[in-house]
């Protein structure tokens, strides 16, 4: 053990000098000083299957044996660096190649097909994973006034993917001017006040862009903790007057190509444009008493106002915490949040909000890489991501090469861009009744976990695993089947089979109890398919698999 540790440290130090960063995180090995806590290198023997597996559950839509070996081979940091350069997989081009949908529902199903194509088979796994996280922070939804515009939603999602590693200020401006967002939060068509008619600017986007997309409701310290006043009360980040000022900023915008402000073109694929005559030109008092002078153009007001938001001190901890929660753990320590927020503030090259650097920091942080030591670590994996993990590791596909799954939300309580409201499927501060709440901790994904939904997830996984696998004899052209050939090959070796499935789904981190139950259940079957399906089912529906430790 001593020798092994020494070797690890030596290699790590060598890497530090040669690559200027990185490090290692062998189990029980403290990260080297100055290192990111992750990393590894071309010949680094440190990363175990379990460690690579856990990393890929954080950084992708599910580990596959190939990616696990790749991470072990090149190390965490190099894997991330490669991912940062991977070209983006988009939805719209794919949808454009499909036959014209007959109705909006079919169009929405095509949109989900595009999403599944990219998250299951796209090489840009990290980018897609971050885009999905962003889609749950900067939310639009097809539930409501975007239902008839699947292409508009896809365009929005593509913007999230394109900007997943861009700078946050650029991302915020892009989403602000995307027509789907404009329509969803009614900035599109919002016009200057008409006092005679008691018409005032719409406050919808003004409110939510601050409350949900950037700074939140109360002043935060850099480590994400709430600033309290002398009465022990939180300090609001803004008041109603500031919302109204931003509502005035966001006036005058509509679809590109509109003949007139009130004759919308419904062109969703180009950023919104301004009609100055409908823009309020009055003075506006924004956050921190910054004043926009009267008489500015809609474009100048927008740029200045978004700059006012993105420069607010809350943005780094507010966004960093939520990204950590989406990728790594429900309850990041204040130090973890601060380390990420520091990179958000300055990526080392003077850039604020470099999301690529932020994501890399989140994933290489010691808190993400070190072996979990207490029972509050990690998070409940989002239900839909349990499905993608299973589909990825068992190479799910349909003969038609489509992923036609119209209503994932029925079984998984979520689907891409399909939340009930701008408040997403769950809130970052949700705590269920019981020990989590009593400890002052949160478990956001528990908000969509109840006695109904937990069963529905289980039932869908049972369907996929027992009835939609490669040994089914009469296949449907559009049904998605998992490939269990590798498991069938060892179906007569119970221990080997259980261990292989446990490695695929849990990185080998299976409890003795679950292993025993899996073995006992699968051995009830005579058929090879039965043995394999039962093994996968037992592990895939266990509360162990549901949690990313």
């Amino acid at each position: 053990m001593y020798l092994r540790l020494a070797t690890i440290l030596t290699i790590s130090l060598l890497l530090l000098t040669s690559c200027g960063g990185g490090g290692s995180s062998g189990s029980g090995t403290p990260p080297p000083p100055g290192g990111g806590g992750g990393g590894g290198g071309p010949t680094d023997p440190v990363i175990s299957v379990a460690e690579a597996h856990r990393f890929l559950r954080q950084a992708s839509f599910g580990p596959t044996p190939t990616e696990v070996e790749k991470v072990r081979d090149i190390g965490f940091e190099a894997w991330i660096d490669q991912q940062l350069l991977e070209p983006v997989s988009l939805q719209l081009p794919y949808m454009d190649d499909l036959p014209e949908p007959e109705n909006s529902r079919e169009g929405q199903t095509n949109r989900l097909d595009a999403w599944f194509q990219n998250v299951l088979n796209g090489k840009d796994q990290l980018r897609q994973r971050v885009a999905f996280a962003l889609s749950e922070i900067i939310v639009i939804s097809d539930q409501g006034n975007l239902f008839n515009f699947p292409n508009g939603l896809a365009d929005y999602y593509d913007k999230l993917a394109i900007n997943a590693f861009a700078n946050y200020p650029d991302l915020l401006k892009t989403v602000t001017l995307t027509p789907a967002m404009g329509r969803y939060l009614s900035m599109l068509g919002n016009q200057k006040p008409d006092k005679a008619k008691n018409i005032r600017p719409d406050e919808n986007y003004a409110r939510e862009v601050m409350q949900l997309f950037s700074i939140g409701l109360v002043m935060l310290n850099k480590d994400g903790s709430v600033v309290l006043d002398q009465d022990n009360q939180p300090i609001p980040t803004y008041d109603q007057a500031v919302i109204e000022a931003f509502a005035h900023v966001f006036t005058g915008w509509t679809f590109y190509g509109s003949e007139a402000f009130n004759r919308p073109s419904y062109i969703f694929r180009a950023p919104m444009v301004a009609f100055q005559a409908y823009h309020d030109e009055g003075e506006k008092r924004l956050l921190n008493d910054v004043i926009l002078p009267a008489g500015q153009s809609a474009e100048d007001d927008l740029d200045a106002a978004l700059g006012n938001i993105t420069n607010h001190a809350n943005v780094p901890p507010f966004i960093s915490r939520q990204l950590i929660q989406r990728l790594v753990t429900a309850n990041p320590s204040p130090d973890y949040i601060e380390r990420v927020a520091d990179v958000f503030i300055d990526d080392g090259f003077g850039t604020r909000g470099n999301l690529g650097a932020v994501v890399k920091t989140i994933l290489l942080d010691p808190d993400a890489r070190a072996e979990p030591t207490d029972d509050t670590s990690g998070k409940l994996t989002e239900p839909l991501l349990r499905l993608t993990a299973i589909w990825r590791v068992f190479n799910a596909s349909a003969e038609s090469d489509r992923y036609l799954f119209a209503f994932p939300e029925y079984s998984f309580s979520q689907a891409p861009l399909r939340a009930d409201s701008v408040f997403n499927f769950f809130r970052p501060d949700f705590a269920p009744t019981g020990e989590i709440g009593k400890l002052g901790l949160v478990s956001p994904e528990m908000q969509i976990t109840n006695e109904t939904t937990s069963v529905l997830v289980n039932n869908y996984l049972a369907l996929v695993i027992f009835l939609q696998h490669s040994s089914v004899t009469e296949k449907e052209v559009d049904t998605i089947y998992i490939n269990i050939d590798a498991e069938l090959a060892i179906a007569d070796q119970p221990e080997a089979l259980v261990d292989q499935v446990a490695e695929k789904l849990l990185g080998g981190n299976i409890s003795d109890a679950l292993r025993a139950e899996s073995l006992a259940m699968m051995q009830r079957w005579d058929s090879q398919e039965g043995k394999v399906a039962e093994t996968i089912y037992t592990i895939a529906t266990s509360p162990e698999f549901a949690v990313l430790p």
């Binding site: 008691n198 406050e203 919808n204 002398q230 109204e244 029972d375 409201s421 009593k438 908000q447 266990s542």
Partner: protein, 446 residues
């Protein structure tokens, strides 16, 4: 929050055991819970524009309303007239699509509680503008104000909801119930969050049951036993344990619920085939077989969506109010069908009212709003509380057409809780801001 008032309130709450260490809830109860009562919370997500739901018909008041609402105003002649037993001298009407509400009101099964909202103490416009009053934090924000209505937390970091606190408070009295006191058709809510009494969620047809555990499924019985063994073994991570607790309740209650529902597969009363209608229908069916659950007190939570009418209000609101009226009317009819019309009380809550001005084709977030209470135990066909003056910059408008509530969400909840059987001595735990108000009961319940 002003320090002196905060300290005063803190001391009061602390004395009640509401904040501060363990030993939270005093045990002084003398009520009898051997009868049956049920509360049904229909939460209108997004913020119902109730100032277009109940509208003055008298010329003077209508013209003020129409001047404020402009292109969103309901034409005076289209309003459905109502004839309240009490009168403030004005005539009132309901939205033309709310015929279900009109019918419930006129037959005495519906009361309207006027201009309710989250408040920490009675608040005048001057108080608000001069900052001389304590206010609930984050007024006009959706999730914060939903949280206020559901938790009544005021400025305290209270993670429980008022239905959750009722369930905890009555846990001992109701320990013989075979189902949790709180049941949701709409997933998890702050309203039903408790210290210890976990709520229970059903779907539109009853309890979800595990396909893989069915008796007909190969090894279904063994698979269930295996899963139960896993759950019993426990988990080394809090998130796994939380999920396991949910599964444990699913397994515990599903058969009971579904077998009971086979006794009453269908009611005679037809419900609208809408999201809200389907949810109210399953509540009605569960109530029809309530004896199977040996329950004396139940609280249901149901959400209706779509009320955040920032745009297209003139197109969307008619359907919302049509559906709401038809659904509440069907539910009341169903309660009469199963003989529970006097034991089940349905009430609305919503994020907030909407502001009186138009943003072109919709409305923004307001504060006070009218709420609906229906059932045989309601002193119906009355409007409770003072109707606000619907005038921009008028006496009830704090700015931009946001109307100050004149009755608090705490008073509203306390009135319902009192009917439910919560003793007077426990009301302040349920509604923490109640001590700030003279009137502890708004009088709309028998």
């Amino acid at each position: 929050m002003h320090r002196r008032d905060f300290l005063k309130l803190s001391a009061a709450l602390s004395a009640l055991g509401l904040i501060g260490g363990p030993g939270m809830i005093p045990a002084a109860r003398s009520a009898d819970f051997s009868d049956y009562k049920c509360l049904v919370n229909v939460f209108l997500l997004g913020g119902n524009d109730s100032f277009n739901m109940l509208v003055p018909r008298s010329d003077a008041e209508y013209s003020i309303y129409a001047a404020s609402r402009q292109n969103l105003a309901i034409p005076q002649g289209d309003l459905l007239p109502i004839s309240p037993l009490n009168s403030d001298g004005s005539l009132y009407g309901l939205h033309p699509m709310a015929s279900g509400l009109q019918s419930l009101f006129e037959t005495g099964d519906l009361a309207i509680v006027s201009n309710v909202g989250p408040l920490l103490e009675p608040t005048s416009k001057d108080d608000y503008l001069n900052g001389t009053t304590n206010l609930p934090p984050q007024l006009f924000s959706h999730n914060d104000q939903q949280n206020q209505w559901q938790s009544l937390r005021g400025t305290h970091s209270l993670s429980t909801g008022w239905a959750g606190r009722i369930a905890d408070l009555l846990a001992e009295d109701l320990s013989g119930q075979l189902l949790p006191t709180n049941i949701s058709t709409s997933g998890n809510s702050r309203f039903q969050a408790a210290e210890t009494s976990s709520p229970y969620t059903v779907n539109n047809n009853g309890a979800s049951s595990y396909a893989a555990f069915r008796r007909g499924a190969e090894f279904g019985v063994e698979r269930r036993a295996s899963f139960e063994q896993q759950l019993a073994n426990g988990y080394g991570n809090i998130h796994s344990r939380a999920l396991a607790e949910v599964h444990t309740r699913s397994l515990q209650y599903a058969d009971l619920v579904n077998e009971a529902l086979t006794l009453v597969p269908e009611l005679n009363t037809a419900f609208p085939d809408t999201r809200l209608g389907r949810r109210l229908r399953i509540v009605a069916r569960l109530l029809a077989v309530k004896d199977e659950f040996e329950v004396n007190r139940q609280i249901f939570y149901i959400t209706a969506i779509g009320f955040d009418t920032h745009d297209n209000q003139n197109q969307d609101q008619p359907n919302l109010l049509l559906d709401l009226g038809d659904c509440l009317q069907a539910f009341q009819t169903a309660m009469a069908e199963i003989g529970l019309e006097n034991q089940v009380t349905t009430f609305t809550q919503s994020d907030f009212g909407r502001n009186l001005t138009s943003n072109g084709d919709g409305t923004d977030h307001g504060w006070g709003a009218h709420q609906l209470v229906s059932g045989g135990a309601v002193m119906g066909r009355q409007i409770y509380g003072t109707m606000p003056v619907l005038e921009i910059d008028g006496p009830d408008d704090v700015a931009g057409g946001r109307v100050i509530p004149t009755q608090s969400a705490d008073q509203y909840a306390a009135t319902l809780a009192t009917w439910f059987g919560i003793p007077e001595s426990n009301l302040n735990e349920i509604a923490p801001s109640l001590p700030a108000f003279n009137l502890r009961n708004l009088g709309f319940m028998t």
